[in-house]
Subunit: 204 residues, 2 copies
DNA sequence: TGCAGCATTGAACGTTTGGTCAATGTGAAG
DNA sequence: CTTCACATTGACCAAACGTTCAATGCTGCA
């Protein structure tokens, strides 16, 4: 039964959510115009009526994922931590917890990341997103270095935030493929032992 | 013109190399029985005659990639470095250089990694490979901790090697998507600043 | 030389894909 | 109520896919 109209924006969101559902569960390879239509309980034609082409649907889905996933929110409870290095470690902990708490979301993120190898449009979006993410670490990295300049001589805020981001993404690589064997506390204990102890001694 | 026989092993290798060629250039999505056959200059039928099914060809390609790519060789020139922490840093440097020198190989590695999200057989192989890789870091991590036990109190060899591997894989995440903007020296300077300076002071 | 066994070929098949389109129903305007 | 713009449907298409298979040539052995 054709008909049953809905506003443009509503339908777009409905379809996007269905696409997200399919892709986050079964992977981007399983993202089919038909599979999306089925999950949204719409016809295949309607999906393409609103997004014109599958490529545009994928691009829209990527935007949706980037908007809701990777943004680094430095919330108040972290800003309030007095010692800069503790702030950084708290941020690392929270980001690592996200890996465990929303694995499907982040798997989809990396699914797009891998697709970026061969698809220029996707690559540039992922590249920009990784840059944004690293940039969000910079203020805290800056504070850490300023708190103990003599200790971290030669380390730039850019370098430190790059290392922090690499560390998190590397944890993701391990955690996505082996969620069970991924032990956050072990990672944090090692990181803390490598960086934290001296700092605690220096600032107290 | 049918005929033109070759030994079983020869053909398998020829086909595998063609498969590697296609997958490392265009990605796993472009790995088609036909594309492999075309690059190997064989018929489509012959590819499946030797590998029975596309899934088996992919599995064989994964084995081939894992055998030739991720193995961590701790060569003599690194073993000879006297200070343990310098050994670790040298190893990190060499692994990071690999990211830049064989990007296609490593991109294919991560292409498989992403496919592992949804394919159990691939996932378990990748998981085992990541475990092997981390294990290869353990001896050096052990040396580092033993050289300055009071400095790294509470850090286990397992924890340190896990952090080292995460760092490398995280660099890969950045480097694969943005080879140009990836600055090895900046990463190493930051890492060295975070870890190395104190150690150098302590051991000289 | 002739035969048997197997590697090799390419056409063919069934399925799934992204995309098109005439037909149909819906909701608002007149 | 009629009309009209348009959201919606599902059948349909061509292309590409993995896979099958009868036919065809090699090659080593008798």
């Amino acid at each position: 039964m054709p008909g049953q109209k809905a506003s443009e924006a509503e339908r777009q969101i409905q379809i996007l959510k269905a696409a997200y559902d399919v892709a986050s569960r079964k992977g981007l390879d399983a993202l089919t115009v038909r599979s999306v239509a089925q999950r949204a309980k719409l016809s295949t034609g309607l999906v393409l009526f609103h997004f014109t082409t599958k490529a545009q649907l994928i691009t829209a889905l990527l935007d949706y994922v980037l908007e809701t996933t990777t943004v680094l929110h430095v919330t108040g409870d972290i800003t309030d931590i007095p010692v800069a290095l503790d702030r950084l470690l708290a941020l690392l902990r929270r980001e690592m917890n996200r890996l465990a708490s929303e694995p499907r979301r982040i798997r989809l993120f990396f699914d797009f990341w891998a697709k970026g190898f061969t698809h220029g449009r996707i690559r540039s979006k992922m590249q920009a997103e990784l840059d944004r993410y690293r940039e969000a670490f910079r203020p805290i990295a800056h504070d850490v270095l300023q708190a103990e300049p003599e200790r971290f001589a030669g380390v730039t805020p850019e370098g430190l935030s790059a290392v922090a981001v690499s560390f998190i993404k590397g944890c993701a690589v391990q955690s996505m493929i082996d969620p069970q064997g991924f032990d956050i506390e072990e990672y944090l204990a090692a990181t803390n032992g490598l960086l934290g102890q001296l700092a605690v001694g220096a600032t107290t």
